[in-house]
């Protein structure tokens, strides 16, 4: 469309949303959308209610808790950081409407941590994220397609891709379970495409494959999955799906006394959430899982220690500190570094540029390096294998973290020697 006025980012982009209200804007004191002299406004869409919400509904509050902590300590160059959460119920169509609200009504500076592959795909296409130049930082999905910088020039991942994860699991299977009957339960969409493609490329052939369509997960459907796995005699089962599907699968297998060696992908393995969804501790005991971060119970870790303090003081009272809270706070920590890197007069272009030039050096709780550069919007790049104990806690497999890194393509899986940057003093970034 054609610009008809003098200034970018003023009332031109104003719109009347479908909800029927007008969001006329005025020229702010600082001429960048979502940034004023004392505030930076950010937005996130995620499922706060509904079947897919368990665990994910804690991420936004965790981010807010960390931002409050930063705000209480001077904010980012004197500006407080505000995060607006929108509940998309995990529905792609609703994600579009909610992101439109964030962009057009709330006029956020950037999106941070938007969750869900189908959700962000639809948002990117229908809201015009790239066309509008809206930074979308730390997408909370591992779909390797988002690494296409040409298609997603303003977006940056945070999780290792599902393909990377599958490659690392594949290597582990070869090294530890050669000759065993292998089974897999996977989500029958881009999540699964990424993973299954990588398993196949790595030469892993599953004896029993169970594909489920997102949205169909329930106890009755899980009963059919477990029946297939048991009937096929799977001795080692990889679960490559979301927590709301992992929980009924594990619960049903416990009830059926079917006890393969479970290997839970990183997405569906938070023990607190699984237990909250009715999974008996006994099933989790001994289950293997991919992890990129330390256990949320590892208080010897400087990041975990700091984040737990923030959680106690700033999060909603009684919020259990789990993988989701840890992930939310870490995204917030990285966001603050990105905002600082964009400088005291942040612009959307400047933020993207800062991500490209400095993003790979950001402090993060994850053990693997970050892949951000001018030609890459890949986030973290590796995982280690962990094992759950009788308390549902997670310990590194073999007693120490052996982190493997790889790419989403044909690159090798290698044992990493990467040294994670230290947590900024008091958990408050001072980078520029």
């Amino acid at each position: 469309m054609i610009r008809t006025t003098r200034r970018k980012g003023t009332w031109l982009a104003a719109t009347v949303l479908a909800v029927g209200s007008l969001f006329a804007t005025s020229l702010p004191a600082y001429a960048e959308t979502g940034v004023t002299s004392n505030e930076i406004k950010l937005g996130i869409t995620l499922p706060l209610t509904g079947a897919a919400s368990p665990g994910y509904n804690k991420i936004g509050n965790a981010m807010n808790a960390y931002f409050k902590y930063v705000n209480d300590n001077g904010g980012v160059y004197g500006r407080k950081v505000t995060l607006i959460q929108k509940n998309d119920e995990y529905s792609p169509q609703l994600s579009i409407a909610k992101t439109n609200e964030l962009v057009l009504k709330d006029k956020v500076f950037a999106l941070v941590g938007p969750l869900g592959t189908a959700n962000f795909t639809s948002v990117h296409k229908s809201v015009g994220i790239a066309k509008r130049g809206i930074p979308s930082l730390f997408l909370n999905t591992g779909f390797s397609g988002f690494a296409n910088k040409k298609t997603y020039p303003t977006s940056f991942m945070v999780l290792p891709s599902y393909a990377m994860e599958a490659k690392i699991i594949a290597q582990f299977l070869k090294e530890n379970y050669a000759g065993k009957k292998l089974g897999i339960v996977y989500q029958n969409d881009e999540f699964g495409i990424d993973g299954m493609g990588a398993f196949k490329a790595a030469g892993i052939k599953f004896d029993v494959s169970v594909a489920y369509t997102s949205g169909t997960q329930s106890i009755p459907t899980a009963q059919t999955w477990v029946s297939q796995l048991a009937a096929g005699g799977a001795q080692v089962v990889v679960f490559f799906g979301v927590t709301s599907a992992a929980a009924p699968t594990l619960a049903v297998s416990a009830a059926a006394k079917y006890a393969p060696q479970w290997i839970l992908g990183s997405v569906g393995a938070d023990p607190i959430t699984l237990r909250g969804l009715g999974v008996p501790l006994a099933v989790l005991n001994g289950a293997l899982t991919l992890a990129g971060n330390p256990s949320p119970n590892d208080t010897s870790d400087e990041y975990v220690k700091q984040f737990r303090e923030v959680n106690t003081k700033y999060n909603i009272a009684g919020t259990a500190f789990d993988d989701y809270v840890l992930q939310g706070m870490n995204i917030a920590l990285m966001t603050v570094q990105a905002l600082r890197a964009a400088g005291p007069k942040p612009t959307r272009k400047g933020l993207i540029s800062a991500m490209e030039s400095k993003g790979s050096s950001f402090a993060s709780v994850a053990y693997s390096p970050l892949g951000f550069s001018k030609t890459s919007n890949v986030g973290h790049t590796g995982y280690y294998m962990a094992v759950m104990d009788a308390n549902g806690d997670r310990k590194p497999f073999g007693g120490k973290v052996s982190l493997y890194t790889t790419d989403s393509g044909s690159g090798p899986v290698v044992l990493s020697t990467f040294k994670r940057p230290a947590m900024p003093a008091k958990g408050l970034p001072s980078n520029s």
Binding site: I2, A18, A24, K98, N100, A118, V127, G128, T213
Partner: protein, 541 residues
């Protein structure tokens, strides 16, 4: 399993906007001067232009010199059997009754403000852009001659009438002072491709006896087309019953000949595939692809939201697109002299490459998508007659180049003239504007050319699906805003009319706060430079 009893059967949207309401009786023979009734405070005049097209003029006693020339939408150019007429909303007979405005309420409101209104019924129906443009140009002259105080002529129209209006704005800037193509059709080939794809999809998945085009000459061809229309309705009604009986895994119609293995995929997913591959929107009059009935367990609610509700939306919209596909294909073939739909090289997998991730659940996952694509890949394709394709292109296209203020407005989920039609014209104008601005800069000028195009959108609400107390979809409520074809409120029509009047008087669009206030008060009108509607699938997206 939840059993849905629809409160009302799904019907097509054609009736309200495609088939014009009959407003004014007029003579059927051409005459040199209009016959006016001389009534006060509004006199109505009728007559016919030199091509025999009847027209109607309505002019208030306090006529302020500005007249709105309205172009109506597509009307069937062949009679329809009564049952198909009732199902489609198109009249059973071909009608050329003149229509001087969108509806009686809007006409009355314009007359009350001192404006005149005029409209033709056009000499022929079906796709009639070329002849309608000539008719309208002549009609403007007749009106001015009759009402000599006329100072401004504003063109507006809907659907095919939007196409005609845009053409008038492009070709006759001296005749018109402002124009508003509403829910417009743009170029013929992309438009007919969308309808053709929807029809071919229904044929391929659900009833291969549908001919789908390349109709025979004469009466035999007419019988084939009407037969297709009936079969499309049978398929849709069968699917509707199957959806209602078992929304999770609705049965396939008995007429379907897809392999048994494919029938393991719910038929609802095939319908979603038809919508996606043809570019039919995934929000419909009553289904928002987002909500679920209250009271469902959380897991079932999510499934309804992401898998079942979208299938219902596809059902409503594909029904309309496929039925229109029959009518326009038959019409275009008659005009072009042969088969016009060609998907012999269409890569449907590429077409849905991105959307398959968005609608993964509705498509029954990756394996469901792959299975459905395999059917499309293995099915016989339609081949057009090259000469007919070339002829079709001459039936209408837009340059996007306008030198008078024009306002585009459409529903984002219009299933007939998809929003990509409007986007196409907006994109063409943007390119033209960029050219003009470059020329200015090359001449060392600094003043930007005037922006003659104002693009407005009507977005559906986030959630609008209604359910009965029993949890069944309620399709008896009015179509949601932003959905259906040319589904505008009187307030929206009048906002457009007011914006046109302003532009007509000043030569430029209302802008800034006053523009936003205007559209806010009208409701559900969005001005957003950053928004781009999905392009029509013909263009490769």
């Amino acid at each position: 399993m939840r059993i849905f009893k629809f409160k009302r059967s799904l019907t097509l949207v054609a009736g309200s906007a495609l088939a014009a309401s009959l407003l004014v009786a007029a003579p059927t023979v051409a005459s040199a001067a209009p016959a006016c009734d001389g009534k006060f405070p509004v006199q109505t005049c009728g007559g016919a232009t030199s091509d025999g097209a009847p027209y109607a003029m309505m002019v208030p006693a306090n006529f302020n010199g500005t007249v709105y020339l309205y172009s109506h939408g597509y009307r069937n150019d062949v009679p329809l059997p009564a049952a198909l007429s009732a199902a489609t909303g198109f009249p059973a007979t071909v009608t050329n009754t003149p229509q001087p405005g969108p509806n009686a309420t809007v006409i009355a409101a314009l007359l009350a403000k001192g404006y005149g209104v005029v409209g033709s019924g056009f000499a022929r129906q079906g796709w009639n852009a070329d002849s309608a443009i000539k008719t309208n140009v002549e009609l403007v002259g007749v009106f001015k001659k009759q009402f000599t105080t006329t100072t401004k002529v504003i063109a507006w129209g809907e659907s095919l009438g939007g196409f005609i209006t845009q053409s008038l704005a492009e070709k006759y800037p001296d005749l018109f002072s402002a124009a508003a193509p509403l829910c417009m059709a743009s170029d013929v080939t992309p438009l007919s491709t969308m309808a053709g794809d929807a029809l071919w999809g229904i044929k391929t998945f659900f009833d291969p006896t549908i001919k789908g085009g390349n109709y025979s000459a004469g009466a035999a061809g007419y019988a084939e087309a009407m037969g297709d229309l009936g079969k499309v309705f049978t398929v849709i009604q069968t699917l509707q019953a199957a959806f209602a009986a078992n929304p999770s895994t609705p049965a396939w119609p008995a007429t379907s000949k897809v392999p048994d293995a494919i029938k393991g995929i719910p038929s609802r997913s095939a319908l979603v595939m038809v919508a996606l591959m043809s570019g039919v929107p995934m929000q419909s009059a009553h289904f928002d692809s987002t909500s679920a009935p209250a009271g469902l367990p959380a897991a079932n609610a999510l499934s309804f939201q992401v898998a079942i509700n979208p299938a219902f939306a596809a059902l409503e919209n594909v029904a309309t697109a496929a039925a229109l596909g029959v009518l326009v294909t038959y019409d275009f073939e008659l005009q072009a002299g042969g088969a016009i739909f060609d998907n012999s090289t269409t890569d449907y997998a590429a077409r849905i490459a991105e959307e398959q991730y968005i609608w993964a659940s509705a498509l029954s996952g990756n394996s469901g998508t792959a299975g459905l694509l395999s059917v499309l890949a293995a099915s016989p394709r339609a081949k057009a007659a090259p000469a007919a394709v070339e002829k079709l292109k001459t039936l209408g296209t837009h340059t996007g180049k306008v030198e008078i203020p024009t306002i585009l407005f459409t529903g984002v989920a219009d299933p007939v003239t998809a929003a990509g039609n409007q986007q196409s014209v907006a994109d063409k104008y943007a390119a033209y504007y960029a050219e003009k601005w470059e020329a200015v800069k090359k001449a060392k000028g600094y003043k930007r050319p005037a922006n003659n195009q104002l693009v407005l959108w009507n977005f559906p609400l986030e959630k609008y699906s209604k359910y009965t107390a029993a949890g069944a979809p309620d399709t008896s409520v009015p179509a949601a805003t932003g959905t259906n074809h040319c589904n505008f409120t009187t307030s929206q029509y009048m906002a457009i009319a007011d914006l046109l009047a302003y532009a007509s008087t000043t030569g430029k669009h209302l802008s800034g706060g006053p523009l936003l206030t205007k559209i806010r008060k009208a409701g559900n009108m969005t001005y957003d430079r950053g928004y781009s509607a999905p392009k029509l699938k013909y263009y490769g997206e």
